[in-house]
C-alpha cells in the first residue's frame, strides 16, 4: 500500500506536516522519516502510522541519499517537508534525485486529480494554484497552516542505522547573536509616542522577545526623544520593513509612518483611542492602555 511521507527534523514541523498528510490521505498510510529521536517520538504520537528514526548522519541533510533510495523502492505518493532552510535544501536535492517536481512554500494543499497546491509568487503579490499529476509529489509546507493532530496511541518507531559519507562537514553550530535586524525580522514591535517613558521601551522589547522579533520605533521616538538609534525608526523617510507581523504600541497611525509598513503581512495595533487613524490601517486593533494590554499579551503568549 502506498504511503505519504513526512520528512522533518523538528518535532513542531513534523506534527504540522502529519496533520497535512492526514487531510490528504486516501487509503494511504503515513510514515515519518527523521534523524531526530525527539521528533520521532512526537510523530509517533501525533498521527504517523510508522516512524523511521535514522541514525548515523551528522546533520539532517546526511540522510538525503538514503531517503531517496528508500523512496525509489517504496514509491510514496507524496513527500512533505517543512519550509525551513534545511528542509528546503533537502527537498530540492531529493526532488532532483527522484526526477520529480517540488512545490515550495505551499500555503494550501488539497487532494484532487493529483495534488492541488497554492503558493505566493513575486514576493507575495500573487497566488498561484497548481496541480501535480506525476508521482511522487513533493512539497515544502509553509509553517502554521495546519493544527497538529491530538496525541494518540503511539505508533512504532523503527531505527534505521546508515553510514553516511558526507561531502559537507559541520564545523560549528552556534545560536544567533541578538543584534537588531529590522529588515529581516519576521515580527516587529514598534514603539510610538504613546510610550510614556524611555524605560517603558522594555515592554516593547519583552513583547518582541516573546515573538522572536525586533523592536523599531516611530520617527519622533528616535529623532526627538533620542530613545532609540535613528536606524531603528520606521516610516516613509526611514526603514520600510515587510514583517509577517507588525505590532504598534502607542502609534497614532500617521500616514508618514504607516506607508513605511504597508508591505507588512499583518498589522496589529494597541491603541487607547478608538478614533485614531491606526484603526483604519491595522488588521486588528486592541482598544486599551498599552500598559495593561502588553503584560496580558505576554502572559497569554507564554501560556
Amino acid at each position: 500500500m502506498a504511503e505519504l511521507w513526512v520528512l522533518a527534523d523538528k518535532a513542531e514541523t513534523a506534527k504540522e506536516l502529519l496533520a497535512h498528510a492526514k487531510s490528504l490521505a486516501g487509503d494511504e498510510t503515513i510514515a515519518c522519516l527523521t534523524g531526530s529521536a525527539e521528533t520521532a517520538e512526537a510523530a509517533a504520537a501525533h498521527g504517523a502510522d510508522r516512524v523511521l528514526l535514522y541514525e548515523g548522519g551528522s546533520r539532517p541533510e546526511s540522510y538525503v541519499p538514503h531517503w531517496c533510495e528508500r523512496a525509489r523502492l517504496e514509491r510514496p505518493a507524496a513527500l512533505l517537508l517543512g519550509a525551513d532552510r534545511r528542509s528546503k535544501e533537502i527537498a530540492a536535492r531529493m526532488a532532483a534525485r527522484l526526477q520529480a517536481g517540488l512545490i515550495s512554500d505551499c500555503v494550501k494543499l488539497e487532494r484532487r486529480e493529483g495534488f492541488y497546491s497554492e503558493r505566493y509568487l513575486f514576493g507575495g503579490l500573487c497566488l498561484a494554484g497548481e496541480t501535480t499529476g506525476s508521482a511522487p509529489f513533493l512539497a515544502t509546507m509553509a509553517a502554521g497552516k495546519a493544527q497538529p493532530l491530538p496525541a494518540g496511541a503511539p505508533a512504532s518507531v523503527e531505527k534505521v542505522t546508515v553510514s553516511c559519507d558526507d561531502a559537507v562537514r559541520r564545523i560549528d553550530l552556534r545560536p544567533h547573536r541578538s543584534a537588531s535586524n529590522l529588515m529581516e525580522a519576521k515580527v516587529i514591535v514598534c514603539a510610538g509616542r504613546g510610550v510614556a517613558k524611555q524605560e517603558d521601551l522594555k515592554l516593547a522589547e519583552e513583547l518582541a522577545r516573546a515573538l522572536g522579533g525586533e523592536v523599531g520605533c516611530t520617527r519622533p521616538v528616535a529623532e526627538e526623544r533620542h530613545w532609540m538609534p535613528e536606524e531603528n525608526y520606521i516610516g516613509i523617510t526611514g526603514k520600510k520593513p515587510a514583517p509577517e507581523l507588525y505590532i504598534t504600541l502607542g502609534v497614532s497611525g500617521q500616514i508618514q509612518h504607516m506607508s513605511g509598513v504597508r508591505d507588512s503581512k499583518c498589522i496589529v495595533a494597541i491603541e487607547k483611542n478608538d478614533g485614531a487613524p491606526i484603526t483604519e490601517a491595522a488588521d486588528y486593533t486592541i482598544i486599551g492602555d498599552l500598559y495593561e494590554v502588553v503584560p496580558k499579551m505576554l502572559a497569554e503568549l507564554r501560556s
Binding site: 516613509i236 523617510t237 500616514i255 508618514q256 506607508s259 487613524p277
Partner: protein, 378 residues
C-alpha cells in the same frame, strides 16, 4: 528628426545612476542638508562610478558622454539630492575648459587628477564679477616660464574639496574681456588658499567657498589656449553645461511631483484622500505639464549640442525655464503637503530651498534672458 532612443549601454548607465541615487544619495541627503557637512562617502562612491567625470573623453580614461546623457544623469542625481548632484556636476564643469581648449599635455595633466578620483572646480566668479565676467580682477602676470596669479574667487562650487582648478584671470585689465585667460591650477601650489565656506540656503550638501590666489606661480604651459581666449572658453563652458543645470532643476521638479503623488493618495481629510479633490488634481497636472516641458527643452538643447548645431539660445531657454519651473513646482509641492510641507522634518521644504539656486547660479535667469533677447534681436 530627433532620435532620442537610448542605446542599451545608455539604459544600463541610467539604471546604475538610479540605483546609486536611490541607495546611496537619498539616505545621505537629509543629514548633509541639515549639517552642511560634505558627504565624502557618497561623493567617493559617485566618483567610483565615474559620475564626476562625464565629459572626460574616452581616450583620457573617461566615459566621454553626450550632452543628452549628461543631462539625463544630472536629472537622476538631483532627483535624489540637488546638492550632491551639484558637487559631482561641478567637477564635470571644471573639465569643460580643458576639453574645449586643452592640448594633449594639459588634458593628461588635468584628467589624470579627475580620473584618479579627485574633484575639480571651475573658478570664474569674483566678488565684483558675477554676471559681468569682464570685471574679473584676478591677474595673471607672465614672468619668464611662469605666470604669477593674484586675486580672489568667490561662490566656488567644490572650492574647498577640489584638487585642481580651472581658473580665469586677466593678463591685462585694460583689455577687459579680451584680457581674460584660462589656466589650470593645482590645489597644492604655494599661495593657493581656500577661504570661507558659504552657509547656504539650499544645495547644502555641496561645498561653496572662496578660493584665494596669492603670488601663485604656475608653469606657462598651464595656460589653456592663448592669452585672451578666456572669455570665449568660459562662455562656451557655460553653454555646454547649461543643459545639465536645467536637468538638475528638472530632477528637483520630478522629486517634488513624485512625493506629492504618493502623499495625496495617503493623506485623508474629510474622510477621503485629498487626491479626490479637483483642486489638488489640477495642481498636480500643472506640475507635471511644466516638469515635462522643462525636461524636453533641456533634452532638445542637449541634442542640438550633440548634433553640432547652434544651441546657445536653446540652452539658455532650457536653464531659465527649468529653473523657474523648479521654483514654481516645489512651491506648489509645499502647499500640497501643507503644514508637513513647511516642516523641516519632511523632505519637501528642502526641494524648495534647493530649487532657488537654479534661478541664480551658472548665469542668473535674468542674464539668460539678456542672452536670449540678444540672439533674437541681432
Amino acid at each position: 528628426m530627433y532620435d532620442m532612443t537610448l542605446t542599451q549601454e545608455e539604459q544600463l548607465m541610467i539604471q546604475s545612476v538610479r540605483e546609486f541615487a536611490e541607495t546611496v544619495i537619498k539616505p545621505a541627503a537629509k543629514k548633509a542638508d541639515e549639517t552642511g557637512e560634505f558627504p565624502w562617502d557618497v561623493i567617493n562612491k559617485g566618483v567610483e562610478l565615474g559620475l564626476h567625470a562625464l565629459p572626460v573623453p574616452e581616450e583620457h580614461g573617461g566615459p566621454g558622454l553626450s550632452s543628452v546623457m549628461t543631462a539625463v544623469i544630472a536629472e537622476e542625481m538631483s532627483k535624489a539630492c540637488a546638492g550632491i548632484g551639484t558637487t559631482l556636476g561641478a567637477t564635470g564643469l571644471s573639465c569643460y575648459p580643458v576639453v574645449i581648449a586643452g592640448n594633449e599635455a594639459q588634458k593628461k595633466l588635468f584628467f589624470d587628477f579627475i580620473m584618479g578620483g579627485k574633484m575639480g572646480a571651475f573658478c570664474l566668479t569674483e566678488p565684483n564679477a558675477g554676471s559681468d565676467s569682464g570685471s574679473v580682477a584676478t591677474t595673471a602676470v607672465r614672468d619668464g616660464d611662469e605666470y604669477v596669479l593674484n586675486g580672489s574667487k568667490t561662490f566656488i562650487t567644490n572650492g574647498g574639496v577640489a584638487s585642481v582648478y580651472t581658473v580665469f584671470a586677466t593678463v591685462d585689465r585694460a583689455k577687459g574681456l579680451k584680457g581674460l585667460s584660462a589656466f589650470i591650477v593645482e590645489r597644492d601650489r604655494a599661495g593657493v588658499a581656500v577661504g570661507k565656506e558659504e552657509n547656504k540656503m539650499g544645495i547644502r550638501a555641496s561645498n561653496t567657498t572662496d578660493v584665494i590666489f596669492e603670488n601663485v606661480r604656475i608653469p606657462a604651459d598651464h595656460l589653456l589656449g592663448k592669452e585672451g581666449d578666456g572669455f570665449k572658453i568660459a562662455m562656451l563652458t557655460l553653454d555646454k553645461s547649461r543643459p545639465s543645470v536645467g536637468a538638475q532643476a528638472v530632477g528637483i521638479c520630478q522629486a517634488a511631483l513624485d512625493a506629492c503623488v504618493v502623499y495625496v493618495n495617503e493623506r485623508k481629510q474629510f474622510g477621503k484622500p485629498i487626491a479626490a479633490n479637483q483642486a489638488i488634481q489640477f495642481m498636480l497636472a500643472d506640475m507635471a505639464i511644466q516638469t515635462e516641458a522643462a525636461r524636453w527643452l533641456v533634452r532638445r538643447a542637449a541634442y542640438l549640442q550633440d548634433a553640432g548645431q547652434p544651441f546657445s539660445k536653446e540652452a539658455a531657454m532650457a536653464k531659465t525655464f527649468a529653473g523657474d519651473t523648479a521654483m514654481k513646482v516645489t512651491t506648489d509641492a509645499v502647499q500640497i503637503f501643507g503644514g508637513y510641507g513647511y516642516s523641516r522634518d519632511y523632505p519637501i521644504e528642502k526641494l524648495m530651498r534647493d530649487a532657488k539656486i537654479m534661478q541664480i547660479f551658472e548665469g542668473t535667469n535674468q542674464i539668460q534672458r539678456v542672452v536670449i533677447a540678444g540672439q533674437l534681436l541681432r
